[in-house]
Symmetry: C2
Subunit: 371 residues, 2 copies
C-alpha cells in the first residue's frame, strides 16, 4: 500500500468514522479502523457491530492495499500533523504502516485486516432525501428526551414515523415525551415506523454539523436497518426492536390554564433556581402561575431557598405545579432568541403541555413532580 491524500480530508474522515468505535471494544479488532486504498479513493471504516460508518476521500494511489490500525491513535496522530499532505505506506515483511507528513513519520502496528468485521451494505426497501437543516432540527428537538436506561432499550431510541411527506420523531423516558415534526420533499408510500438509537442520531448530528454545504441527507431504510449518507460519509445502524406505546393519549385533550412565557427569560431564571433545586432530592422547581405572572421557587433544607418572578401572560385558573427542573431546562436549552413558549396545564397532578407560540411542529409533555 502506498498512497497520498490531504491531511484535512483524512482527519475529517477519521473523526467521522471514529464515532462508530465502541467505548470499550469487546474484541481488540473493534478498536481498529480499516483503511482501504483503491480506485483513487481511500475508504475508512469503523464499526461496533450495531453502528457502522464509512467515509471516502480522494487520494493518489500508487499501490492499492488495506490496513487496520488502532482508531483512537490514528485519529489523534492525523489531527496533530503539521503538513497539508499525508503519505501512507507499508513495507513488505514489516508489521507497521507509516504515516508521513513533513518531517514527522508515525509507524503504527498493523491489526489483522482479515478479522475486521466490514460494515454491511445491505439492500434497503425505501429511500428519501431530507435537507440537512430539517434533519438537524428534528434530532435536536427529540433525542434530548430519550432515556439512558439500559433496561428499556426501546426508550433509548427515537420513534420515527413517515407518512406521505410528513416525518415525525417521538422520544420519551416515560416521565416526559417529545413530538417533533417536519415535511420532506419525497412522498413515501404507506405508514413507515421504526426506532433509531438516539446515540446514532446524535453522531449523525455532529457529522452534519461538521459539513459545510447543505447537499441534503439521503436516508435509506428497511425492516431491520437504516442508513444515512451525508456527502462522502455513510452511516448505518440496526434499528431498535420493539414498539413505542401510543403517545397520542399522553397529550392533554384540553387545558384549563395557558401561560405564555419568553423563553430567554424563563431559561435565565431556571438556571438561577437550579443552584438551590439541585440540592433537593428530585431537583424540584415549583412554578406558580397567576395573573401576576410566573413565580419560580425552590427550597432545600440544607442550603436555603430562592424565589424569582418573571413575566407571563396567564389565561384561566391559577396553577401551582412542580417539575424536575432538568426536564424544563432541557427544553429551554434548545430554543433561542425571540421564541416564546405556551404552556397548557390542568392541575398539579396532570402532565403539562409545552409548545412554541408560533409553531405547530413541536410538542413537549412533562409529568409533574408530586409534592
Amino acid at each position: 500500500m502506498n498512497c497520498i491524500c490531504s491531511q484535512k480530508d483524512f482527519k475529517d474522515a477519521l473523526i467521522a468514522a471514529s464515532k462508530a468505535l465502541p467505548a470499550k471494544a469487546q474484541t481488540p479488532i473493534l478498536s481498529g479502523i480499516l483503511i482501504t486504498a483503491k480506485n483513487n479513493e481511500i475508504e475508512i471504516q469503523a464499526t461496533d457491530f450495531s453502528l457502522g460508518i464509512i467515509a471516502k476521500i480522494p487520494a493518489e494511489i500508487e499501490n492499492e492495499g488495506a490496513v487496520v490500525v488502532n482508531g483512537k491513535y490514528i485519529t489523534e496522530i492525523i489531527s496533530k500533523l503539521a503538513g497539508d499532505i499525508v503519505t501512507i505506506s507499508t513495507e513488505e515483511g514489516s508489521n507497521l504502516v507509516n504515516f508521513k507528513s513533513e518531517a514527522a513519520t508515525f509507524s503504527l502496528y498493523l491489526m489483522d485486516a482479515e478479522d475486521f468485521p466490514k460494515v454491511n451494505r445491505q439492500e434497503f426497501n425505501h429511500s428519501f432525501f431530507i435537507r440537512n437543516n430539517v434533519l438537524k432540527k428534528l434530532i435536536v428537538r427529540s433525542t434530548f428526551a430519550s432515556s439512558t436506561d439500559d433496561s428499556r432499550p426501546v426508550f433509548q431510541g427515537c420513534s420515527v414515523t413517515i407518512e406521505n411527506n410528513t416525518i415525525s420523531f417521538v422520544a420519551t423516558n416515560t416521565h416526559r415525551l417529545v413530538v417533533a415534526k417536519a415535511e420532506i420533499e419525497d412522498n413515501i408510500p404507506g405508514e413507515n415506523k421504526f426506532i433509531v438509537p438516539a446515540k446514532t442520531l446524535n453522531d449523525l448530528l455532529s457529522i452534519i454539523n461538521s459539513t459545510q454545504n447543505d447537499n441534503g441527507v439521503k436516508v435509506e431504510f428497511s425492516d431491520k436497518h437504516i442508513a444515512f449518507t451525508v456527502n462522502n460519509i455513510f452511516i448505518t445502524c440496526r434499528l431498535i426492536d420493539g414498539q413505542f406505546p401510543p403517545h397520542e393519549k399522553v397529550i392533554p385533550a384540553s387545558c384549563e390554564t395557558f401561560a405564555e412565557v419568553d423563553i430567554s427569560e424563563f431559561r435565565a431564571a431556571i438556571n438561577r433556581v437550579e443552584i438551590i433545586s439541585k440540592q433537593t432530592e428530585y431537583n424540584t422547581v415549583h412554578l406558580s402561575f397567576s395573573n401576576e405572572g410566573l413565580e419560580l421557587s425552590s427550597d432545600s433544607y440544607e442550603t436555603g431557598k430562592v424565589v424569582e418572578h418573571i413575566n407571563a401572560a396567564v389565561e384561566g385558573a391559577d396553577v401551582e405545579i412542580a417539575f424536575n427542573l432538568k426536564y424544563i431546562q432541557d427544553f429551554l436549552k434548545i430554543f433561542g432568541g425571540n421564541d416564546e413558549v405556551r404552556i397548557g396545564m390542568n392541575d398539579k397532578l396532570s402532565p403539562a403541555d409545552f409548545r412554541l407560540t408560533d409553531e405547530e411542529d413541536f410538542i413537549y409533555i412533562v409529568t409533574p413532580v408530586r409534592t
Copy 2:
C-alpha cells in the same frame, strides 16, 4: 445587616476569596465565607487555616453586621444574578440571609459567625513592592517544576530568595529544577529566604490575572508568614518549614554540546511525539543532536513509533539523550512566539541545562531518563 453593593464587585471578591476554601472542609465552618458589612465596606473572608484571603468592596451600609454562608453556593449565586446591584439583608429572628437582585431573591442558611476562624493579620518584618508582570513571570516560570508529592512538603513550594534588589524563585521535584530571577525596585537588607506553597502562588497568579491595572503587588513577610496585597485583595499564608538543598551544584559547570532550537517548532514536535511516548512506561522521548539538527523519537511496543526531524544549530559533540517528555513539554509551554532555547549537555546520563538564548533570568535543569 442591610446593605447594597455592585454585583460585579461582589462576584469578583467572592471568586478571589473562594480560592482559600478547602477542597474538603475538615469542619463545616471552613466551607463558609464570612461577609462583614461595616464602615461603607463589605469585607469577604475565607480560610483553610494555612491560606487566608480577604477582599474588600465599597458598599452602602444601612445596618452593619456579619454573616457566614456556604462559600461555594454564594459564589455560584452571585455569579448568576442578572442585576447590577445586590441587596444583602437579614431579619431579626430568622436563620437566613437574603441576597436580592432584580426579581430574584436567594435566602441562604446562616452558619455561626462566632465559630469562623478569622484570617490573622499579624505584623510583618519586611515589605516591598513588585510589578504585577514581574511577579506573574516569576510564578509562571517556577511553580510548574514543583512537586505534588505530599511526603516531601518542602518541594511543594518555591524557595524565594531576596538579596538587595534581586529576587529569585527556585522550584524542584528532585528530577528537574528551575531558577527564575528578576529585579525589584526596593532594596531589602540582608539575605531573606523562605518557601512559599506553589498552590498559594498559583492562586495569587489567577487573582493578578483577573485585575485590570498594574498597580503593583505589596509583599510582606516575616519568619512564618507571607502576605500579598493586590488592589483590594489581601492573601496571606504560612511559609513551608524546611530548607531547599543548595541548587547551585545541580547546574552543570560546563557543557560539551550546545544546541539552539526554536521553541514553537520544538513544542509542536513534542506534542506530536507525545501520542506515542505516553504509551511508554516513563513517557520517554529520545533526542538525538547532531550537525543534521535534532531528531525526536519515541517507541511503544504496543502502539508503534514516531520519528521527527527539526532544525537545530548544534555545536560540539553529537549527543543522544532521553527525557520524560512531560518535563520538556512543561517548559516549552510557558514560552511563546519567537523564543529560542539553548540546551547545554554533556552526555546521556548528565543533567541538561535549558536556557533562553536572549535572557539570563531563567535556568531549567532536567535529569535524563536512563535507557
